[in-house]
Amino acid sequence: MNVTIQEQDGNMVAILVGNLDTSVAAETEKAMSPLYNVEGKNIIIDCTGLAYISSAGLRIFLSILQITKEKGCHVYIKGINDNVRAVFTITGFSNIFEFV
């Protein structure tokens, strides 16, 4: 599982590549922790390379959303595949995230 965080066009972008299952959840969260400190910018999580996600991964997404929303940031999810989308839909996460 690969996490890359960079700034693009005034937005914080996190690029995820690989399978976000429970075994890598902890380290993935650690890698994405800079996003917790973002203020006044939009966050885009690029999931084009994300092949798989389980509930542990969803937990990370939710944390990011809840913490940065308080600071006034929008969180966008970019380019999720069908399987990942299915998981988002089943859990209702598709209603609380914005997709681009």
């Binding site: 399978n19 798989y52 996600i53 542990a56 069908d82 399987n83 998981v87 859990t91 209702g92």
Partner: protein
């Protein structure tokens, strides 16, 4: 006649008037009767007195005359005795007698034979009234040898003067005869030797006239009889001298007449009331001096009482007419007085026809009619008021009834109506029916599927009607709520019991049977709380053994027991309430368990033990038994038939992992391979992967105490239809299927992370099934194989 009686019954005026007239008539009768009785008596006394007076007067008169005769005879005798040898003087004396006594009939002074030698054998100076003159002749001759006459012989024989019996005196010269009676006495010379007889006669008819002169009553008559009873005076002249008073008694014995005759002969005086010739008479009789005759005045009763009777009849007629008049008048008067009642009756009819507001006539009277009218008015007002109340009550009742119907619909709506058939499921067939006794009842049944288990229950609330139905609703919703978190029937029932007992203020209770049938294996866990043990219809007909727990709602602290049984494929579990066994026919006989067994056995024989057929047959049998009798209790039945065929297992693989999430990739690879082998559609395979990961991760995180290593076994098996993953661990008991469902509609800020895993498992897999077996948590996830479309 009947019409008259009916008329009288109908008319008060007629009845009252009849009563009044009746009593008046009675009083009149009594009073007048008494009066008439007394008056009659007075009249009677008066008549008697009058008759007696007349009788006395007549008697005196007659006796006076007789006396005169005797005195005259004595005087003449004295004269003759003084001058016994002057025959011519005798004629003078004889003549003188008659001249001085015009009412004497004749006088004969007759001497012994040849007493006057120069006059011959016979010498009788006979004088008689003829027209206005007297005729004096010598009466003796060969044709009339007076020596042998009674009047000549009797004084000699009796040696005293006497009156003769009446006899016929023949007047030769005129050839007339007259009935006479004579007073004759012997003439004696100074030596005491009889020389002749003086005979003074009285005409009987003259006597009769004298006697009959005074008639006390118009139709009364006098009679006179002689010593022998011969009639000498009688209105019927043919009887005179020819009949005696006893003559007619010879033909027809008449004791009264005979007695009268004897009494008169004996010289008695008195009064007899008797019937003479068919006429009621009073006979007053008295002897005539010394003549030996007796006279009687016969007064017909009709004469005496005639006037009185007429008076009495007149009075009676007057009273009768008066009473009739009274009857008529009273009827009229009373009818008029009752007129107001008729008016009231008419008004009552109007009210009765529905016009409650009709105004009653106001009579302005204070008597009974006025009071009645007043009371009537009160009654009318009350009627109006009560009818209003009744309308309201009826409306309320209709409203309640309509509410009850709605409640019934709601209650029926609470019960499951869709029953899985063979077409819907391949593991179980179910059917149930509930017929409440009233609109709403206390029986309940429920079932639902959760995670490859069939949760079902059947119950019976104590009582019927609305209270029971409310309790039933509470019980059912409690069942649903509790069994969402508990899979074990004993725990379900225990929790339900605590909950319900805590809020049970009315001391109702419900018998309950809760079962959980594990559909893959056919293992049934169950708990019976005082309910009828179900029947198992499979190889035969048998009763499921049940512990005797108490019904639910009683005792919050009761610990319910868990039982288990294995249900073989094809067996039908028949659950019912006591409405089945206690269904009553018209003679209060109960259906009873024996009949239930019979019907079930017959159904089994006929291969009709499927739930729908079995319940159908049982219902039919009950209806036949009960007949027309009213349904006494709710009738509820539920039948569950386990039909799962175990299909052959094609593949079995397993993997054991330590409880470290680092092993997840290995797990995922395991799952991926299996799915690929089975030809799963990739997207479906992805769902399966996520689900299995969540399940296993749960175990890894929570099954064992933190830091403690443990194993997780993942078994995979498949047949032609589906694949199943079984996750087994030996950690603490943990049933993921009872966790609270996740609310996926919450907003971002409201969402929590908890429960997501199980949610995903449920959503992605066809069924999840948890069992705790032999200290192991066994979680089975099943998915129907969905092949990739090529």
């Amino acid at each position: 006649m009947k019409k008259i009686i009916a008329y009288i019954r109908r008319k008060l005026s007629v009845r009252v008037s009849l009563w009044v007239v009746f009593f008046a008539a009675v009083i009149f009768n009594v009073a007048l009767g008494f009066l008439f009785y007394q008056a009659r008596d007075a009249v009677y006394q008066e008549a008697v007195s009058r008759a007696m007076q007349i009788l006395d007067k007549t008697s005196l008169r007659v006796e006076g005359i007789l006396n005169r005769v005797e005195v005259a005879s004595n005087m003449t005798k004295w004269l003759v005795q003084r001058h016994p040898d002057k025959p011519d003087s005798i004629f003078v004396y004889s003549r003188g007698m008659l001249a001085n006594n015009p009412d004497f009939y004749n006088c004969s002074i007759a001497f012994e034979p040849y007493y006057f030698k120069d006059r011959g054998l016979y010498f009788s100076a006979y004088t008689k009234h003829v027209a206005d003159t007297l005729r004096t002749i010598q009466g003796g001759s060969d044709h009339y040898q007076y020596f042998y006459s009674d009047w000549y012989l009797m004084p000699q024989l009796l040696e005293r003067p006497c009156w003769t019996e009446p006899y016929m005196d023949l007047d030769v010269a005129t050839n007339t005869s007259e009935m006479v009676t004579s007073y004759c006495q012997a003439i004696k010379n100074h030596e005491g030797k009889m020389i002749g007889v003086i005979n003074v006669s009285l005409s009987i008819s003259w006597l009769s006239q004298t006697i009959s002169a005074t008639k006390p009553y118009p139709h009364s008559y006098s009679i006179m009889i002689g010593r022998g009873g011969t009639y000498f005076v009688h209105p019927d002249t043919t009887k005179i001298t020819r009949q005696t008073i006893f003559t007619q008694t010879m033909e027809q014995p008449d004791t009264a007449l005979t007695a009268l005759g004897h009494a008169m002969q004996r010289g008695e005086e008195g009064m007899k009331h008797m019937e003479l010739n068919g006429v009621d008479c009073y006979v007053f009789y008295k002897p005539l001096g010394q003549t030996g005759c007796s006279m009687a005045i016969v007064c017909p009763e009709s004469d005496i009482f005639g006037g009185f009777d007429r008076l009495r009849n007149s009075v009676r007629a007057i009273v009768f007419i008066g009473l009739l008049l009274m009857l008529y008048l009273f009827i009229r008067i009373i009818t008029r007085e009752l007129q107001p009642l008729r008016q009231l009756a008419d008004e009552a009819e109007t009210i009765a026809s529905g016009q409650f507001d009709a105004t009653l006539p106001d009579f302005r009277r204070v008597d009974e009619i006025g009071q009645l009218s007043h009371s009537f008015g009160n009654m009318q007002q009350s009627l109006v008021k009560y009818i209003e109340e009744l309308k309201n009550t009826t409306a309320q009742k209709a409203s309640i009834e309509s509410d009850l119907r709605i409640a019934s619909d709601i209650q029926m709506g609470m019960l499951p109506k869709q029953f899985p058939t063979k077409a819907d499921r391949d593991d179980v067939v179910l059917y149930a029916s509930l017929t409440p006794a009233k609109e709403v009842g206390g029986d309940l049944f429920d079932f639902y599927f959760r995670d490859e288990k069939l949760f079902f229950c059947i119950g019976d609330v104590s009582g019927k009607g609305v209270p029971a139905s409310l309790f039933m609703a509470v019980t059912r919703s409690t069942f649903r709520t509790v069994s969402a978190h508990e899979s074990m029937p004993d725990r379900i029932v225990t929790t339900m019991n605590r909950t319900i007992a805590d809020m049970n203020k009315t001391h109702m209770f419900v018998t309950l049977f809760v079962g959980v049938l594990d559909l893959p294996t056919g293992r049934m866990y169950y708990c019976n709380a005082g309910h009828d043990a179900p029947l198992l219809v499979g190889a035969g007909v048998g009763v499921l053994t049940c512990d005797a727990n108490i019904p639910v709602g009683f005792l919050p602290s009761w610990k319910y027991t868990l039982q288990e049984a294995h249900i073989f494929t094809g067996t039908t579990i028949l659950l019912f309430t006591d409405g089945l066994t206690e269904a009553m026919d018209g003679a209060n006989n109960q259906f009873q368990m024996e009949r239930v067994n019979e019907v079930a056995a017959r159904a089994l024989t006929d291969q009709q033990q499927g739930p729908h057929e079995l319940i159908g047959r049982m219902t039919e049998a009950v209806h036949e038994f009960v007949g027309d009798a009213e349904q006494s209790d709710d009738l509820t039945m539920m039948a569950i038939q386990y039909i799962r065929q175990q299909s052959d297992v094609r593949m079995r693989k397993s993997i054991v992992l330590p409880n470290d999430t680092k092993e997840v990739p290995r797990l995922n690879a395991f799952v991926s391979d299996i799915c690929e082998d089975l030809g799963f559609d990739p997207n479906v395979a992805a769902d399966v992967k996520v689900a299995v990961e969540e399940a296993v991760v749960n175990v890894m995180k929570y099954a064992y105490p933190p830091g403690k290593p443990g194993d997780v076994t993942i078994e995979a098996a498949s047949n032609d239809i589906r694949v199943k993953f079984t996750i087994i661990d030996s950690g603490k008991p943990f049933d993921p299927t009872v966790q609270a469902p996740v609310d996926t509609t919450l907003s971002a800020t409201e969402r929590t992370i908890g429960g997501l895993g199980i949610h995903i498992m449920r959503q992605n897999m066809d069924s999840i099934n948890y069992e705790r077996m032999d200290n192991l948590n066994v979680l089975t996830l099943r998915k129907k194989i969905v092949k990739a479309e090529n």
